[in-house]
């Protein structure tokens, strides 16, 4: 056999693909769409690691490392920068105040120049938000004039909300954690991109789960119009082509669809790449330019997917004898063997087992082992299902005519039924495993908050120098705020901080008005000027020695940032002892409790925490509080407390997963429908004949339902078993407590069953049409 003959046969097949009339075109288009989806999905998946790396590199390149105890001296190449991130709704906003101190101040990536004081440059997504009606409250919080946008190189995602605002007098606020003087951007110690191992697991499972239905769709598509193709192939045999040539011609037909699919796939990928720029998942968005698959992988996809489509066609023709007289007989299928089918899931489990217990923090998962294990386990479903369907339908009892017709049909060709259901089984197994993984990991990430949400729901951390009284007054006057109290912390030492070894004994001081101190512990009575000492607080050993009336102590309210500004304070007479208690944030306060009147004159205004209680029935109350805080203090840090942290994020992922699973199952449903219709068309004459001798339409409709429902039911049972096993293994790998999420198991299997009903309902109108007597006409 020479290459020229091969090429000629394939070319002839390709020609038939496009000249086969409406059915031929439909098959080519369906194949092309299936292959296109597969190609696009693979290209997008191969581009994800690159996208995450680019994000990581850009994030490191713009890093303004502010955590330093050492303050750089001012120079013409320095810049003072403040981290004033905020939140709007559920969106985080990266905010920076900048004040270049000289002409050579480092320029942040993505900026052409720094905005002047009162101006800001914003990310395109933030600009859109500010320009929209939805951004009205944010506009109040960011009272700067927009003078430009941040370029792509300065952002880590297309949907990132970020801004740089010009400011003055920032140097005064340098504090080693929020405001710093820098002379360059970038991380001092760059780290290689290392995505979360759980994220890798998710991507791998999603990859397999998504691709399998696409493969099923392609299988269904290449079989579309099979009867006409078989007639054509038989005619070719009649004019002298041998069986191998005929198969090559059939492969050529599939290849034409695949090549068109490559074009479709490239278009889908480019569209998907563009669309990906508009998406944000898990607070991660990317720019289309990030999604560049590595050339080697792209070439591999371009070769492997069409080759797979051709292989599917050849496999579909396996056991089919094409004879010159147009007779196409299905050879009696060989009995299916169980042993090698069991091998796949066993190999899968064996590959995954070494990684059990690795945990999510140090989860250095071997990607090859994980992906091979997950694939082997899920592909094991596709290998086991035909055996199970065959074994079970062979034992199914006799019943009414509809049942008998369906069961006999399944007994004759259980492989076709199993192939149709394989996609659903893999998708459901994968989705159950993912839902379990999410449910488990969610428990890991969502810890019950220690904050007391009955007393306060928002914490506002003010910067030094901001008056607590004014802040409390303004916050209390804010719409939707029920109450606000401010507490500040200080340090009391037996000697001055400036003494060579620091104070020998020290204790803490909590400062607030009587209402605020009552949030810390129960007070017998309280007037401004009173002082209390907490006895028996955890880890508090020095206070008893310090709490002696007349003892002179040193009060420092700078929280360690400005060790020269402490003031002397004498422990007053009549100091009362109180029991330890916790403030609304759950922190225990020991040491001394000082009302404002007890703080000696000259002490610096401490940085206060304001605990705000809100009326959640007032819409946007959190934004009102954030806006008030920002107007009071541009460095204020607002934290909204929730009963559980991160729960919302995971809820949205699980919803997304459910929607994704439904989309995948809908795609499989479409394949099922195509196969079902094709089968019905092939049986058109038989259906008409059955109706002619009086078979009720209901009987035939019911037999179609059973014919789909029996293998789907078996597939769902297997999927549930494999899904639960895989979910358990994945959870064990992430060292998470194993718990079965029965709700998601039922939901996923319910959706699978729903697909069967929908497919049956949709195939009823064509079925009724095919039962018409026209099917009996031969002329």
């Amino acid at each position: 056999m020479n290459l020229r003959q091969w090429a000629a046969d394939l070319r002839l097949g390709a020609k038939f693909a496009f000249t086969g009339g409406r059915e031929g075109w439909t098959r080519v288009l369906l194949t092309a769409v299936g292959v296109g989806l597969g190609v696009a999905l693979l290209l997008l998946t191969t581009a994800i690691p690159n996208a995450l790396t680019v994000r990581h590199q850009r994030d490191e390149a713009r890093s303004d490392y502010t955590y330093s105890q050492k303050v750089k001296p001012k120079a013409d190449d320095t810049l003072v920068i403040s981290d004033i991130d905020t939140t709007y709704g559920d969106k985080d906003i990266r905010g920076r105040l900048v004040e270049p101190e000289g002409p050579r101040a480092p320029l942040a990536p993505g900026l052409a120049k720094y905005p002047a004081p009162g101006d800001m440059v914003v990310s395109p997504a933030l600009k859109r938000l500010l320009d929209s009606g939805d951004g009205k409250l944010l506009r109040e919080r960011l009272p700067y004039r927009v003078v430009g946008t941040i370029g792509e190189s300065g952002l880590i995602g297309s949907q990132e909300l970020a801004y740089y605002a010009g400011a003055t007098d920032l140097a005064r606020h340098i504090n080693g954690w929020q405001t710093a003087r820098i002379s360059e951007y970038g991380t001092p110690n760059p780290t290689p991109s290392s995505p979360d191992p759980v994220l890798i697991l998710l991507v791998l499972v999603v990859f397999v789960v998504l691709l399998m239905p696409v493969a099923v769709f392609i299988t269904a598509a290449v079989r579309f119009g099979g009867e006409q193709r078989d007639r054509r192939l038989a005619a070719l045999r009649l004019v002298g082509s041998d069986s191998r040539m005929t198969r090559r011609i059939a492969a050529g037909e599939a290849l034409a669809g695949s090549l068109l699919g490559l074009v479709f796939g490239t278009v889908f990928f480019l569209l998907g790449r563009q669309a990906a720029g508009e998406l944000e998942i898990l607070d991660i968005s990317v720019f289309p330019s990030y999604l560049n698959p590595s050339p080697a992988l792209a070439v591999l996809v371009a070769v492997a997917v069409p080759a797979a489509a051709v292989l599917v066609t050849l496999l579909a023709l396996r056991g089919v004898v094409i004879e010159p007289l147009g007779v196409v007989r299905t050879a009696r299928p060989a009995r299916r063997r169980l042993w090698w089918r069991l091998l796949l899931p066993v190999i899968g489990l064996a590959l995954l087992s070494p990684m059990i217990g690795k945990g999510r923090s140090n989860g250095d998962f071997n990607q090859v082992l994980v992906s091979s294990g997950v694939i082997a386990l899920l592909v094991g479903v596709t290998a086991l299902l035909p055996w199970i369907v065959e074994a079970v339908v062979a034992r199914l009892g006799r019943g009414p005519v509809a049942w008998q017709l369906a069961v006999r049909r399944l007994q004759l060709s259980s492989g076709t039924a199993a192939r149709m259901v394989n996609g659903i089984a893999v998708a459901v197994a994968g989705a159950i495993a993912l839902q379990m993984l999410f449910a488990g990991v969610e428990g890991d990430y969502t810890k019950a908050s220690r904050n007391d949400l009955d007393r306060a729901q928002i914490q506002v951390q003010l910067s030094r120098g901001t008056g607590a009284d004014e802040a409390v007054a303004k916050l209390r006057a804010t719409r939707g705020v029920r109450a606000a109290v401010a507490l500040a912390d200080g340090n009391l030492g037996s000697t001055s901080n400036r003494s060579p070894d620091g104070p020998k004994l020290s204790s803490s001081a909590t400062i607030g008005d009587c209402a605020a101190l009552r949030q810390v512990t129960a007070l017998p009575s309280c007037r401004d000027g009173d002082v209390f000492v907490v006895t028996g607080a955890e880890y508090d050993t020095d206070t008893p020695a310090l709490a002696k009336p007349g003892k002179q102590l040193y009060l420092d309210t700078s929280q360690g940032m400005d060790t020269g500004r402490e003031v002397r304070w004498t422990v007053p007479r009549g100091i009362r002892k109180v029991a330890p208690g916790k403030d609304p944030s759950g922190m225990e306060h020991g040491g001394f409790l000082l009302t404002r009147g007890a703080v000696p004159a000259g002490a610096e205004q401490p940085a206060a925490q304001v605990y705000v209680s809100t009326d959640d029935d007032v819409a946007d109350v959190r934004e009102y509080v954030r806006n008030t805080a920002a107007s009071l203090d541009r460095f204020a840090n607002v934290t909204v407390w929730t009963r559980t942290e991160e729960s919302k994020k995971f809820a949205s992922i699980r919803t997304g997963l459910l929607v994704g699973a439904i989309c995948v199952l809908a795609l499989i449903g479409a394949s099922l429908l195509v196969s079902q219709l094709e089968q019905l068309r092939e049986r058109r004459k038989l259906l008409s004949a059955l109706v002619a001798f009086g078979t009720r339409r209901r009987t035939l409709s019911l037999s179609v339902l059973w014919q789909t429902a029996v293998p789907v039911a078996l597939g769902l049972l297997l999927a549930a078993a494999v899904g639960l096993t895989l979910g358990t293994v994945l959870l064990k790998m992430t060292a998470t407590t194993v718990a079965v999420d029965w709700a998601s198991v039922l939901t996923m299997t319910g959706i699978g069953a729903g697909i069967v009903l929908v497919v049956t309902l949709l195939s009823l109108p064509p079925l009724l049409r095919l039962m018409r007597p026209e099917g009996l006409r031969t002329e």
Partner: protein, 229 residues
């Protein structure tokens, strides 16, 4: 015009069109119990449409069909289906045996559709298969038997309910002459012994030779050859 006296099934002035194509244009027909009538004509003449109308598979656009004194063309679909199940039998050229059922299950199918229990249905089916000399194929599937054997199984199925009228549309069309002859011999013999009328649509004179009477259909009109003689 009234149907000929004693006729079991008769049609008058039947008209049927499929879109712009007229299939029947005033065709007439009658058959007596136990009679074998061949409907002949070239391809596309309307003979199969006539058979479908007579069997209540399609309804004519106009005209009358009476079966055993009852007007067929105005019956509901459900009643016509019931009639086909219980009183009519059918043999077609292609695609009539359900490939996934065994031969005996195929033959028993009309009985089962009528509500006969499976065992009883299969017993009766086996008896008919024996008469048609195909009882040794009982457990084989249609794909495993030859064309002639399959057609004999189909004849057994058409007679298993004890029909009063058997409709055969080109029953030997896919068979060689030897097999065709044997099928016709068994079919007419079995029908006559059961006193079933046979409406035999064919375009082959040698098949029509098995009939008692011939009707020729051309351009949707019928001519009774006996009357012409």
């Amino acid at each position: 015009m009234t149907p000929p006296p004693g006729s079991l099934l008769a049609a008058e002035n039947l008209r049927k069109a499929y879109g712009p194509t007229t299939a029947l244009d005033g065709a007439e027909f009658s058959i007596h119990p136990g009679e074998v009538v061949a409907v002949m004509g070239p391809s596309g003449s309307g003979k199969s449409t006539l058979l479908h109308c007579l069997a209540g598979i399609v309804t004519p656009d106009s005209g009358s069909i009476t079966y055993d004194g009852r007007e067929l063309s105005t019956m509901s679909d459900a009643r016509r289906s019931a009639l086909r199940r219980s009183e009519f039998g059918f043999v077609f050229q292609f695609g009539q045996l359900v490939p996934e059922l065994t031969c005996v299950e195929n033959v028993a199918l009309p009985l089962r559709l009528n509500g006969t229990p499976r065992k009883e249905a299969e017993r009766t089916a086996l008896a008919w298969m024996a008469r048609l000399e195909v009882d040794d194929l009982a457990r084989k599937r249609p794909g495993e038997v030859s064309g002639g054997q399959g057609q004999r199984v189909a004849v057994a199925r058409s007679l298993v309910t004890g029909p009063r009228v058997l409709f055969a549309d080109e029953p030997t069309g896919a068979l060689d002459s030897l097999n065709g002859e044997r099928v016709m011999e068994l079919l007419t013999e079995a029908a006559r012994s059961a006193n079933a009328a046979v409406v035999l649509v064919t375009h082959e004179a040698r098949v029509a030779a098995w009939s008692d009477r011939e009707i020729v259909v051309r351009d949707g009109r019928s001519r009774d050859m006996e009357r012409l003689v």
